[in-house]
């Protein structure tokens, strides 16, 4: 009898998957650095009114083109100086972060919904559905994104909503490709077959069995799409065909500063560096999340 009790060892409890995931995230440099920068930027954008007392639209004819504090004649009144209309540059930068983040996030959500819907359908049903979706992806890839975005936004009239809508409709292909591939992989898994055998409706299987299992990939693509949406919005606004002035957008700030590139280069440098840092942070986070969520691919 004593032999039997010895052979029954209580198996060590395996840590829950999400705990492992969080643990890996905490040890990944890219995720931590990118995430940290992003959190700081989001906080700065949300609490902009508490960081600066200036209104980003408030002009001041007497205080135009003041340099930032670290330069000669710079003052602590306007930490990053003022633009050609005397508007406080820090205030415009902070409120501009709101525009960039809002466009990046909502665009990624819209295109994520479209792409995931198509990708999961294609991966689950295969066959003709798959061919149609893949054809749509090929067509989408063949459309020159910036050109069509510029043309449609200009013709309809530039505004925050239009930019979000147009970019949302133009950036879904990566979601479709990635969710399709993952859905195909899990399509033959036992738990899907089990759900089918039990008689779950297709809708329910897609929603409760498939979707949670492609969520990791969706989050990765979500971050990378957010970065490209922010870059494209800035380019559109830089070309004067996007969010319209006087809304503070980093692209508009760079375009307005361009006239003063020769003598006041900081007008171009400050919003550009902000743009670079935010996109870099999001990409670091996205690339890192890919490493962390797909440990078998490392």
């Amino acid at each position: 009898m004593s032999d039997v009790s010895e052979s029954f060892e209580i198996p060590k409890r395996e840590a829950e998957p999400w705990r492992l995931l969080v643990g890996r995230m905490l040890h990944h440099k890219g995720v931590m650095i990118g995430g940290l920068i992003l959190v700081v930027v989001v906080l700065a954008a949300v609490f902009a009114p508490f960081i600066t007392q200036y209104d980003p639209l408030q002009q001041s004819l007497s205080g135009r083109l003041q340099p930032p504090f670290w330069m000669e004649r710079g003052s602590a009144d306007h930490v990053l100086g003022t633009d050609h209309l005397g508007r406080d540059y820090l205030a415009r930068l902070l409120y501009g972060a709101r525009v960039s983040l809002l466009i990046g996030f909502t665009t990624a959500l819209i295109s994520g919904s479209i792409g995931t819907f198509l990708g999961v359908l294609a991966g689950y049903f295969g066959g003709r559905t798959d061919s149609v979706v893949m054809f749509l992806v090929t067509v989408k890839l063949s459309i020159p994104t910036i050109l069509v975005a510029l043309a449609v936004v200009q013709l309809v009239g530039g505004s925050l909503q239009i930019v979000i809508l147009v970019l949302g409709l133009l950036l879904w292909h990566q979601f479709a490709v990635v969710t399709r591939a993952t859905t195909m992989q899990i399509r033959g898994m036992d738990y899907i077959t089990a759900a089918e055998t039990v008689g779950c409706s297709t809708f329910r299987i897609l929603l409760t069995e498939v979707l949670p299992n492609v969520l990791n990939q969706i989050i990765v693509v979500l971050t990378l799409t957010m970065a490209s949406a922010i870059l494209i919005e800035a380019a559109l606004s830089f070309l004067g065909v996007g969010v319209q002035p006087p809304t503070p957008s980093w692209g508009i700030m760079i375009a307005e500063g361009k006239q003063h590139l020769f003598f006041k280069p900081w007008l171009v440098m400050i919003p550009g560096v902000a743009l670079l840092v935010v996109v870099l942070a999001i990409n670091l986070l996205g690339d890192g999340m890919r490493d962390v969520t797909a440990p078998e691919k490392r």
Binding site: T138, A151, Q154, V156, A235, I254, P265, G272
Partner: protein
């Protein structure tokens, strides 16, 4: 192979037709082309007469069929803003953009492939990290801002290169760097993973065992095999560069196709816009079809489509 070829070409044609229907519809739904030509403050009669004169009163599918039947014969219509044939406008501007695009893709290959090779030969070293961070930066830097940065450093501070214009090859150096940088990350990463994969294979071990020189192993055996997917990605990147040329040509005041597209967009010049969109997407469709066909020629396994 012939069957594959026919199927791939049919796919390319149907994609091109779909793109043209989509963009034609999109542009005509987004605005009333008659108002776009007449201007915001034209009277209702003026707009109505323009509508009839240009045929905008017909159903959209008739207008599309009309446009398509002319377009396949090379007639892209007349630009209402420039008052010239769209075909001759494009022919005028095409050489500058082709020159810019080819210089940029060469720049991207010359920078991206060696970076990828070096990173793969010395994986997880400082050199590897450095080239990876080049790729990360190349991906994140806004190209219009990068252009302004270069202008500030090279033209304003160092006075080495002209800030704008198309005189001589110097004017193309900065636009080439900016546009090429967009493609460097993809090329570099792909070369690196390709090389890493090949370097771990048996025939490379055999080559080492035979006592071949490192240079011969890396270049003759490894790179030749690793570079195949890079070529197809480079073809696609080259097509993408046409889209990027809008922004880059605007920054450097180059008068190529990109700036023609930009001008036509600002003036709501729909025939020109439509033609350039179709031209850019045709480049993409043709390049990706060519690279697929080239890959299928090299690797018969791909032919089963």
């Amino acid at each position: 192979m012939l069957k594959f070829l026919i199927r791939r070409i049919l796919l390319a044609i149907s994609v091109a037709v779909c793109v043209s229907i989509l963009t034609f519809g999109l542009l005509h739904i987004a605005t009333d082309p008659a108002i776009a030509i007449a201007g915001e403050d034209a009277s209702a009669e003026e707009i109505q007469s323009l509508r009839i004169a240009y045929g905008f009163d017909r159903p959209l599918y008739v207008q599309y069929a009309d446009w398509l039947s002319k377009a396949v014969r090379g007639d892209l219509g007349v630009s209402p803003y420039f008052g010239l044939e769209v075909r001759s406008l494009i022919a005028d501007r095409l050489p500058i953009t082709i020159k810019l695009g080819s210089l940029s893709i060469i720049f991207a290959l010359v920078l991206g492939i060696p970076l990828g090779v070096i990173a793969a030969i010395y994986p997880n070293t400082l050199i590897d990290r450095l080239s990876l961070s080049v790729a990360v930066f190349g991906q994140a830097i806004p190209n219009f801002w990068f252009g302004l940065l270069l202008i500030y450093v090279m033209s304003v501070q160092l006075r080495l290169l002209p800030a704008s214009g198309t005189e001589g090859i110097q004017s193309f150096i900065m636009p080439m760097i900016v546009l090429g940088t967009n493609a460097v990350p993809a090329i570099m990463r792909l070369t690196r993973t390709g090389m890493l994969e090949v370097l771990g294979s048996d025939y490379i071990r055999t080559a080492w065992a035979k006592g071949m020189l490192p240079r011969q192993v890396y270049v003759k055996h490894a790179l030749r095999n690793a570079v195949v997917p890079v070529v197809s990605v480079a073809a696609i990147q080259a097509a993408h560069m046409l889209g990027g040329s809008i922004v880059v040509e605007a920054v450097f005041a180059l008068h190529g196709l990109g700036s023609l597209a930009y001008e036509s967009i600002l003036r709501s010049d729909i025939p020109t816009m439509q033609a350039i969109i179709i031209l850019f997407s045709s480049f993409f469709i043709i390049f990706s079809a060519l690279s697929d066909i080239a890959n299928a020629y090299i690797d018969p396994r791909i032919r089963i489509l």
